[in-house]
Amino acid sequence: MSQAVWPAVLGRFDWQALPFVRAWDNPTASEIVGAAAASMVVIGALFTIAIVTRYGKWKYLWSEWLTSLDHKKIGIMYVVLAFVMLTRALIEGVLMRMQQADAINSPGFIAPDHFAQLFSTHGSIMIFFMAMPFLTGLINYVAPLQIGARDVAFPLLNSISLWLTGGAAGLMMASLVIGRFSTGGWSGYPPYTELAFSPDVGPDYWIWAVTLGSIGSTLTGLNFATTIYKMRAPGMHLMRMPLFVWTALCTSILMIFAMPPLTVATALLALDRYLGFHFFTNDLGGNMMNYANLFWLFGHPEVYILILPAFGIYSEVVSTFSSKELYGYTSLTIATMAIAVLSFTVWVHHFFTMGQDADINAVFGIATMTIAVPTGVKIYDWIWTMFRGQVRFTVPMLYSLAFMMTFVIGGCTGIMLAMPPLDFLVHNTLFLVAHFHNMLIPGLLYGMLAGYHYWFPKAFGFRLNERWGRIAFGSWVTGFYLAFMPLYVLGASGMARRTQEVFETAFRPWLYIAGLGALVLLFALAALFVQLWVSIRARDDNRVTAGDPWDGRGLEWSTSAPPPEYNFAIIPHVHDRDPFYNAKRTGDPYARPAHYEDIEMPKNSMTGPVIGIVGAVTAFGLVWHIWWLAAFGIAAIVGTVIARSFARDVHRIIPAAEVERTETGWLRAVSDATSIPREIETTSVNRGLAKVAA
């Protein structure tokens, strides 16, 4: 009896799926590391629940945050998610560096299968659940403010995107506690990830986590393309948009066109694994090259989905902290668009070695090198922006400068890899690993951190601690060079990527340096958390309520810090680029309007949390073959969508009197603040009012 019942209820779950049980049965270092990671997830979750319960904050959390449709709160939640996932994936990276440093002519402390799970989760998380949420969060927070809009085009869809991403990240966390993750790398290449070679739950976790996340990203792209095309304030012509909005637009377009190939790739792989189709199998006509093409049709534009928003942030930061108009605005927008288009023409360079014609490789190699041109244009534009400007070396500016130098090095190795003959030599070695970390750490992470430091005062009303910011910056840069420059040497010497054990003692010093670098990077992350802690404690000394701590240029600085829910009491009219910067010099941007009006905003909705959580539960059911759970989940999602379409009371009115109260409070803070010159903007004198020479 029970023989038939348990599989129907629990699918293919058994006790060995729990890492605690595995570690108990077989207490090797590798299993204990796995069990420790699982307990960190469990303890972290319990701790969070306990804290929220202890302070009685469930209602606050639910009604002010989790169900909120406010683009600013959704943006903040995305960034929080990104930091949580960054912590996990960075620790995994450090573990891999430690293992390789340890495993020179010895098995090391991480078993091969466990090591393969580590590089698969590290890559998947860093791309899908660190980088994507981070940039989506910043776009969410900043883009509507910069275009002078009160909200995004589809606020509910925004919440659904957030929760699909969150649900998918939850699934990644579940894979640490129940079962195991894929060993097929972040790209999940079949036929290895097919049933014949990976019959376990690992690839299924990967498939469904990535699928949920990619659907969330497609919807985000749709939402922001519509928002930026349709909801700009009067006078905010396309060629007056801040560069960050331009990059957000290009990234959104890329998401609309590039995420579907990923969804198709994972869905077809799922059909193979679940229903016995033959898309990518070795037998009966399957062809894994289709997967390589589909995956990289997504994978290459994805690189620019990640990097373009960072380019936008650097443009804002460099211009603001040089107190100069952005040099070459037009060329920067053209370069951004050119990169977005070219990103669809180079995907084959990810598999030069997989057997196509040399002529095809040549075409894609040349297309790849072409991308260096618009990127080079951008670098020069940023340099010229600084030229003869009043440059201040604040934390965001330091990240920008480190980016410019480091990214150029990575770009040069990219040009090398774009040559197919050279690529054949270093393909699948650590040279490639060094290259893409050299692109993505400065080209994404530094950018996101620059944006985080730059806009944090706007979002929370106080500045981040400058000293700890510099310590973190120094560690991120030092750690990066120590951890990844040796990998170029190792890769050029022929060390394969994803190697669990090393048999060449000459690699030892380089692996030690790389290991040291990984530890420095871990310290850098810790320094960021210390900075946050220190800054929150000293928040009253660093308030910038007036809202303009850096003598900002765009409309986002023309509101209080943090901005009111409705962003702008009066929708601004734009007459030029850098509208707020110019308004400060030619008029009075803090003038009180004649009267205020009622403002209509969307009401909170639990649709997003329901769809995200039920989506993750459905995916969990599919992973473990718990069919009743999956069927229930799909029905619940369809039911929720239909039920929501019958909801009519979805708006609420903020009365003019309340708007007036809020605005008066802010204007009082403005008139109480002393305007300060740029030299002392990082001291606590800065209350968010800039001194301007008329």
């Binding site: 085009a153 589809f154 497609t218 792209g221 749709l222 939402n223 393309a225 519509t226 095309y229 349709k230 909801m231 609309i256 066109f257 995420m259 579907p260 190939p261 969804t263 198709v264 869905a267 077809l268 059909l271 193979d272 229903l275 016995g276 189709f277 033959h278 898309f279 037998d283 009966l284 006509g285 399957g286 062809n287 289709n290 589909l294 049709l297 369809v638 239909i642 379409s645 019958f646 009519r648």
Partner: protein, 208 residues
């Protein structure tokens, strides 16, 4: 043409309901964008089908399995349903009464159901011949592409039912109107995809 005449053109709300017409701008634009990303999915499945066409692995071939007769009737059913949905949109735009709108939507639903019924019958015939998706790469590609379109028609049908209910419950308020506009785009989009399926899959399959 004058501006007011221009606003009468097409299946928008134009001059008959200017307020909702303006409001519909963002929503309908967003839905176009969604359809574009959906079109990318179909485009990739078409490409996959094209690559796998010859991967029959000694199993059933396109020429042996495709029945052009039923496929042609299905085409007529779906194209006619697009016409009847167009009539529903006109009824909504001109405000000629709820009954006409509901009537045309019900007719559309029937055509959609008939299409699905015939398509399922086709699949059952193929299954009867041993042409399962698990048999070969070619059949895998066929059964990913064509039934995905069928699934879209199925959910389009559910959407029609939901919108008919909403017309009964809410009357023609702005949200109902905008959603019917979007449903219309979706339904016509499925027609375009089907024309591609008919040409690329069924007609090409006849070439022996």
């Amino acid at each position: 043409m004058s501006t007011s005449e221009l606003r009468h053109i097409g299946l928008n709300l134009g001059a008959t309901d200017a307020a909702t017409h303006r409001q519909a701008g963002n929503d309908v634009f967003g839905f176009w964008v969604f359809l574009m990303s959906d079109a990318v999915i179909f485009a990739l499945l078409f490409a996959t089908y094209g690559v796998m066409l010859s991967a029959t692995a000694g199993g059933p071939t396109p020429a042996a399995e495709y029945k052009i007769g039923p496929a042609f009737v299905e085409t007529l059913l779906l194209l006619t349903s697009s016409f009847t949905f167009g009539m529903a949109s006109v009824a909504m735009k001109q405000g000629t009464g709820r009954r006409q709108l509901l009537g045309w939507m019900a007719v559309t639903l029937m055509f959609g159901a008939a299409f699905l019924g015939m398509e399922l019958h086709d699949f059952a015939t193929m299954f009867g011949d041993g042409a399962y998706p698990t048999r070969s790469g070619f059949l895998s590609a066929f059964f990913a592409l064509v039934p995905l379109h069928g699934l879209h028609v199925f959910f389009g049908g559910i959407w029609i039912i939901v919108m008919m209910l909403q017309v009964l419950v809410f009357g023609l308020d702005a949200r109902v109107k905008i959603n019917i506009l979007r449903l219309g785009l979706f339904w016509h989009f499925l027609d375009i995809v089907w024309i591609a399926i008919f040409s690329v899959v069924y007609l090409q399959g006849l070439i022996r």
